[in-house]
Amino acid sequence: MRNDNLPVWEVFVQPKTGAHFEHCGSVHATDKEMALQNARELYTRRKEGSCIWVVKAEDIVSSNPNDSESFFDPADDKVYRYPTFFKVSKKVKGL
């Protein structure tokens, strides 16, 4: 029997114009067109979106959660990136 496991596509929906695209699940499809149509039928039956992205799951690159400590630690010691790092007199307004 031939393997008919169709490729998996991850689906991202933009809830409304101007919003971030959000991942909402996956569909199986043999090409882009079918992936988009399946995603529409599956994830936007109730007007949940204004735009859909589909991307082949195998093309997505992800960081590894098990390495997240070392992966994200360059951000750890840069507290000066937050406004609260800077002391400002209460008398100063609009800053």
């Binding site: 031939r2 699940g25 043999t30 090409d31 599956l42 959660p65």
Partner: protein, 311 residues
């Protein structure tokens, strides 16, 4: 090493953090999830059959449109859940194969037949009503993709619940014949609906790990009680009688005590001796085989266009 990982895993769960597909998890946690989520997915898919049985005979165009939309939702719910199961490293084909060979189960309730239009009402009201109690609890399950699928499903499921209750209300307040049909449907679906929550906690093989890992958030018996308390009042409102002579209000615990569930019947049906077990699986196999040429054609078309601009 494994011990340390397992402790970190449990700490994360205790802190109410979700487990995501790429996180380390114990083999048994993964196995339990694959079993539970796929069983849930199979139930949605097989659950399309008893209701699909009435689409061509729906009593009005409105009822037909609503029922088609509902059955389409069940397909969607099945697919959300398959999608969540696949994040655990099992393919759709393997899942379908487990269903068709009987290795994986689906909810027992769908092995009962839908004899009259009132049964469609009873399914929406009772079967979806019971499912909602379970699914609302599972929104807080520890596995991220399962939890997200549940949140999405719960949003859509309350329409199913209401359409069922609407059918039952109309019939219960209709002609004598319609009233009898509604009561008969309630009589047949009540006990199987209570069985949907699974065996008593003291007899359930899967409860303890599932609670510790927060896959399940409430026990079978607690969820069943929530369902009974809701349904009794809903039945009263439309003048139907719950078929349980031992049902009575317990003022101390503030809930309804109910009679004994016939677990022999439950296990008989689980083990393949229900009214419709064979028919449900045969239909699934047939639909899957008859759709093969479509999948083959789609794959061939995609291969042909691989080097072209269209694929």
């Amino acid at each position: 090493m494994e011990d340390r990982k397992e402790r970190a895993f449990q700490d994360k769960i205790d802190a109410e953090l979700k487990i995501e597909p790429k996180d380390w998890m114990p083999g048994k946690y993964r196995k339990h999830l694959i079993r539970q989520i796929s069983q849930h997915a199979h139930s949605e898919i097989i659950g399309m059959q008893p209701e699909g049985n009435w689409i061509t005979r729906a009593p009005s165009l409105r009822a037909k449109m609503v029922l088609i939309a509902k059955v389409q939702d069940e397909a969607g719910h099945g697919l959300y859940l398959y999608s969540a199961t696949e994040t655990l490293g099992i393919t759709r084909n393997e899942l379908i194969n487990q269903l068709q060979t009987g290795k994986a189960k689906y909810s027992n309730i769908f092995n009962y037949p839908t004899l009259t239009w009132a049964d469609v009402g009873a399914i929406g009201w009772l079967v979806d009503g019971a499912a909602i109690v379970n699914q609302q609890s599972l929104r807080r399950t520890s596995y991220g993709p399962y939890s997200r699928a549940m949140i999405r499903i719960c949003k859509e499921e309350s329409f199913h619940h209401r359409q069922g209750y609407e059918i039952m209300s109309k019939m219960a307040l209709g002609t004598t014949e319609q009233q009898e049909m509604a009561q008969d449907a309630l009589d047949r679906w009540w006990w199987p609906s209570l069985m949907m929550f699974g065996p008593h906690d003291s007899d359930s093989a899967h409860t303890s790990n599932a609670m510790q890992w927060k896959i399940k958030r409430e026990t079978n018996d607690d969820l069943r009680q929530v369902f009974v308390d809701r349904a009794v009042k809903q039945a009263e409102l439309i003048g139907l009688t719950i078929p349980d002579s031992e049902l009575k209000w317990d003022p101390k615990n503030k809930n309804y005590d109910f009679g004994k569930i016939d677990w022999n019947e439950f296990w008989e049906v689980v083990n393949g001796n229900g009214f419709c077990n064979k028919e449900r699986i045969n239909n699934h196999v047939k639909a899957h085989e008859e759709g093969k040429w479509v999948r083959d054609a789609a794959i061939a078309y995609a291969e042909k266009n691989k080097n072209g601009a269209r694929a």
